[in-house]
Amino acid sequence: MVVALVFSQSGAVVPDLEAHTPTVDVALIVTPSDGRPHRVQLFFEITGQTVVDTDVDPVIAARSVLPSGAVDLSMAHVQAAGGSTPSVPFGPWLQPKEHLDWGAGHLAVPAGQPGIAGIATYLGSSNTARQQFAQTGTLPSCDAPGVGKGQPACGGSTPGTCRCAAGAPGDWTTMAVAFDMELAAVQHPALAPDTANATATANNANATTAGLVLAMDDLGKTVRFFGAVMPEYWRRNSTSFTAMLDAACTGHAASRARAAQQDTVLGALLERVGGRAYAVVAAMTFRQVFGDNSIVWYDGTTGNFTAGPAPSMARSNGGSTGRRKAVAGKTPPSAMMFVKGLGSSGDTGTIDDNYPAALLYLWGQPELLNALLRPINMFMANETHSAAYGFPRNLTFPEPYCVHYLGQYPVAEMQCWQRDRCEPMPLEMTADNLQMTVRWRLLF
């Protein structure tokens, strides 16, 4: 018996930015190798810890059925869910959160999966779910009382409390799914599946796949850039989250296949260049590069991107001559990409964080290189300036070199400026920016 657990970033297959979605397809692929019949039951869960900043933050869970019949379990910070203390995703200005406490995490289970005899879902205590599954292969038939209604979750006293059962170790409010499959005997079982090759495992003629879709909904507020609250890129066409998730559920098998195809192509390329060890490291790096950025949609109208003062070269030319003339609203609607530094107090818009990945963007999706440079260059061109507001929206960049970064994720408003002018590194940042900008311009 081979059981493969595959996470596919099928919503972020690089060459296709237009298909970018906040989804990850998960497949539990079961392949018998002994020819005998088996009953196989599978369990997968995501707990509330994934949608809160700290483990004591409260969550609210909900379930619904999507138009395609897929079951959609969701969980959100009580604030993001419109609880008693409505909040915004952008916390204290100078204290960026290190984890999400805005938006909703989703676990959706597509309907009509071939080979699956039964699907059950559950909202409630993770310990309860795990224990019952381990003993019986099933989930509780009803969600925990109150879960999803803003009432005490898992017997706690605080509405929507994330931690269950008085803090029992490992026990949390959870979104769980169980699959049941009856594997018939096969007269000629496949040869031992290649467990090192997910694509081959999935394509095995005797394989049965249980699929689910993980998604994160930023609720249209991912990044704030000088007063402009920017939604996720996939929302640019006013697509609803429900419609996006439903499409991901109906197309989950196809999107996994597309991811596997890219996997095959890129894997072969990497292995040819640097051997298998290099390919494995590069594959994980590939995932993490795209995972550390948020791709958002700038609609060209939000914020104050009108007539700002001309970019200053004051220090080099006396401040009165030689300035470029700023053009109001010159940046058209487009994608923007914001990184979050892992070891740098959560800095965003950081030139040198993304510079090492420039070649990957150029190879896979050059527009992403432009997307990360665009907000940086817009700020330095003073397109973000608005004299009608106070700091930072009236800030103009006075230096003759490239800024280091734009703020602390998810707020890119130079909130670091009055502290230390955002740690200027003139030579490195200017060189990085010039190299990336020139390379992108040579392509387009």
Binding site: V2, E45, R130, R276, G291, L342
Partner: protein, 218 residues
């Protein structure tokens, strides 16, 4: 000859320090940090927060853990991975990463023939790991959650083998970079450092198989 990174002896198999699983944005960024997929919880990329993504499989009424140290933390669950009662003749399950998981990270549990010693050196590749050893499962999966080394108070899942010590001095410890060149110091948290040593600002680097952690004080 298959190349391997400089500074790592040929034949020495290495563990990738973490495998990104549910990775979409800076906040939705969950990785598996342990040597086995069941050896520890899935962690946030910062290494300071657990995300309890777990998976179990029940084959002919015997339950096994695929992801997360469920058996170690939920005592009510019957033993998972009974060493002598695997679904077939084998006493352990093996997991492996696909050849090149550009967009897919994969694990597999198998009762079939093993893939070599711990699945660490498939295809005879010397040097750096071709397969993530965290993906090997076995009786060790029921051990309690491993205790990570901490760096200035923050759990650093990938630094568990590096044992870095921070002092206010200019130069910090230099230790063998057991986790491999490509991942050195990624999870160090200057924010935490600054709280402890506000006069120091750090930078990190890795060369010749050594993790170097240096501090520049004013």
């Amino acid at each position: 000859m298959t190349p391997h990174p400089p500074g790592i002896a040929a034949g020495a198999c290495r563990a990738a320090p973490a495998v990104p699983l549910w990775v979409h944005s800076p906040y939705t960024n969950w990785l598996s940090p342990a040597d086995t997929l069941t050896g520890d919880w899935v962690y946030h990329v910062r290494g300071d927060k657990v995300g309890s993504l777990t998976a179990l499989v029940r084959i002919d009424n015997i339950t096994y853990s695929i992801m997360g140290p469920v058996a170690a933390t939920t005592s009510a669950i019957p033993p998972i991975f009974p060493p002598s009662s695997s679904p077939s003749s084998s006493s352990s399950l093996k997991l492996s990463l696909p050849r090149a998981a550009a967009t897919t990270a994969s694990t597999a549990a198998s009762d079939g023939p093993g893939e070599g010693d711990g699945g660490l050196c498939p295809d005879g590749v010397p040097g750096f790991a071709g397969v993530h050893p965290m993906l090997q499962m076995g009786p060790s999966a029921i051990k309690p959650t491993s205790t990570h080394s901490t760096f200035t108070g923050t759990t650093m899942c990938l630094l568990s083998r590096l044992d870095i010590v921070c002092t206010p001095a200019r130069v910090l410890l230099v230790r063998p970079c057991a986790a491999g060149l490509a991942f050195c110091g990624v999870f160090i948290s200057p924010k935490a450092d600054r709280k402890k040593y506000p006069s120091c600002r750090g930078w990190r680097g890795c060369s010749a198989g050594l993790l170097t952690e240096r501090r520049r004080c004013p």
